[in-house]
């Protein structure tokens, strides 16, 4: 149990052992791929996929919002989902932690594998899945409770801490990792809603980290924040990538370019193009991608 509360892996170990076990034959490549020469132009990003989706369709009632999404989310990388409003980015993101289940009339078909395990399998407990896949929302939504309680809630309901001291450790570690500790360490008893917008969002990230998820989903986490707070979060995302697999929806091309290693471009419910972020932004293959990133529509 306590191992689960530990941070995933030290940054030195290249890839997760969990995924490596499933396929030992594939060459293991460092996540940042520094100096690893490869014949392929996108070789740097050939990493074990954390999540694989096959023909994922989402229906809201009778209308189809996603038309068969096929992609891979590489482990210990930041994957950015971009695309014009209403193209289904949030819908896709919600498939990954089954938040769509909570939406009346929403239906998901297709296959989503996480570490080779079907997350829509009947035998899978959705509570466990959501403990493994954390989520950060567009608008910071701390609980109307103290800062401490905000972080402690997840570990508490999942029984991650055996004692009060252990719980306090988890809170401290999570806040430190979210870069919020120094700002709030003297006011843990104060309400989380009393923080600034940027601090609240980092609190929400800390709250997600506290249950030691493997994947963190972020739905436009900076859209309600000022540029300085945004920069803090982007830095944070870059740090978190060493321990977590991150999927981020963003409307800002610059942000996608800055923080992500892989980018998926969605358009009208289709995954139009995906690839290394560098490639997508410098050399998009699809006309629509090109138009979007050059700002011709969006």
């Amino acid at each position: 149990m306590s191992a689960q509360a530990e941070p995933k892996q030290p940054p030195s170990s290249p890839v997760e052992t969990g995924t490596a076990m499933t396929d030992l034959t594939k060459p293991v490549v460092a996540a940042d791929g520094a100096g690893a020469p490869s014949a392929q132009p996108h070789g740097a990003n050939r990493v074990e996929p954390k999540v694989t989706t096959t023909d994922v369709k989402v229906f809201y009632g009778s209308s189809e919002a996603l038309h068969g999404i096929q992609t891979e989310i590489p482990a210990n990388q930041v994957t950015a989902l971009i695309g014009p409003s209403g193209c289904g980015k949030s819908t896709f993101l919600r498939c990954l932690n089954r938040m769509n289940d909570t939406i009346e009339g929403a239906r998901v078909t297709g296959k989503i594998l996480m570490d080779g395990e079907d997350i829509y399998d009947k035998s899978l407990d959705v509570v466990l899945l959501r403990a493994r896949v954390g989520m950060v929302f567009q608008k910071p939504n701390p609980f109307p409770k103290s800062i401490f309680e905000n972080i402690a809630y997840g570990p508490r309901i999942h029984g991650l801490a055996k004692s009060k001291g252990e719980l306090a450790d988890i809170v401290e570690r999570s806040l430190k990792r979210a870069g919020l500790w120094d700002e709030v360490k003297d006011r843990l008893k104060e309400p989380g809603t009393g923080l600034s917008g940027g601090q609240q969002q980092r609190l929400c990230i800390a709250r997600a980290i506290a249950v030691s998820p493997e994947v963190i989903l972020m739905d436009e986490p900076c859209s309600a924040l000022d540029p300085i707070a945004t920069a803090r979060i982007e830095e944070l995302i870059d740090e978190l990538r060493r321990n977590y697999t991150i999927v981020i929806v963003t409307h800002s091309m610059q942000q996608a370019a800055r923080v992500s290693q892989k980018t998926c471009f969605f358009h009208l419910g289709d995954l139009v193009e995906e690839g290394d972020t560098d490639q997508i932004f410098t050399n998009p293959r699809d006309k629509r991608t090109q138009d979007y990133i050059t700002g011709r529509f969006g």
């Binding site: 509570v127 403990a131 954390g134 929302f137 939504n141 109307p144 809630y153 989380g192």
Partner: protein, 458 residues
Amino acid sequence: MATGTADTTIGAARAASPTTQRVQATLARRRAAETRFRLIGLSAVILGIGLVALLFASILSRGLPAFWQATLTLEVYIDPEIVDVSPAPDAAAFDSQAAYEEAFLGWQTELARTNWGRVLRNALLAYLPPEAAESGRAVEGLIASNERFELRALIQEDPGLIGETITFQGLADANIDVWVKGNIDRSLPDDRLPLTSDQRAWVEILLEQGVLTQEFASSLLFNVDSRSSPASAGLAGAFVGSLFMMLIVIVLSVPIGVAAAIYLEEFAPRNRFTDLIEVNINNLAAVPSIVFGLLGAAVFINWFRLPLSAPLVGGLVLTLMTLPTVIIATRSTLRAIPPSIRQAAIGLGASRVQTVAHHVLPLAVPGILTGAIIGVAQALGETAPLLLIGMSAFVAQVPASPMDASTALPVQIYLWQGNELRNFFEARTSAAIIVLLALLLSLNTIAIILRKRFEKRW
């Protein structure tokens, strides 16, 4: 010259922008509409407050005097000649408990046979002119008939008082009270006055001697209803009956209503069936209360064979009536809680029940409390359904349990309002209304205090 140029500049700008001109043309109309609306709203509020103030003023002015009642403070000689009873049996002197009880019962019967009225009459005569002794009945009529039993109870409590002179405070007859308060037209002909001319004269004498005074009428609060002695009719029975019903309503309608609302709002799928339930609950809230009375009579009394006039049945009927209010209020409170809180909890892996219990409910408590209190307050003031389940019966006892026959405060008000001793009961009815309002106000105060406590807005 400078101003002239400025004017022309503005004029030119105006001419250049027809939009501005058009908007300005509408401004006066919009402002007038706004002023009109504000005035209408303000006058509505003033009218409302005015009516409430009028209501309170009229009830207070009529009801408050009833809390002070004509009372006789007499030096009563407990004459052993009249109170001719054997000494009270002593428990120690008997072999068995049963034998003692039998002897005690006999002694009680002796006390009951005693003419206590004569004891009181003699006490009164001491203050009155000697010729009053000839019309003993009229003298006895000055004091509320119930006081005989009060005196008896006093002596039964302490038999040592026999042969002593004690200071006894007893209520004057209801008609004396009305007369003293000036609520009887003194110019009426003699045969239409409730008091004889002798009695009227004696009242003056007693007033002069300070024997007849206005004292705080604790009997109004602590006595039960009485027909034979209207002066000592009190609200205790109705108050306790209402209290029992209130407890039953709170204990049943709040948990059931809140649970139903939570289920419908947070868990139930949206389909035909839940739509039907929703419509029905809303309709139920609009059903006239007397219909619930009929239902209660049919189901609880005819079918379940629960006793007539019992606060238990009243409480059940009022619970049925209150449930829709609680459910509707709770649902709207739940709906007002931002979904982002639920998403945050569910996103962390909290189950639905955990989400509701840990995050939604705590935020909803103030709203739920308000709804519950409104519902309970409505129930507390309800009369019609209670008439149909027999709670309008005359009950001269404080109910010891919710199964005992009882009446309720609003029903008591209704009963007193219809009493033939109008002059006296008019004030008493208003006093009962004051007690009911006080109960409702304290209920509301509790609600506000609880709300403030839970309303930790972060």
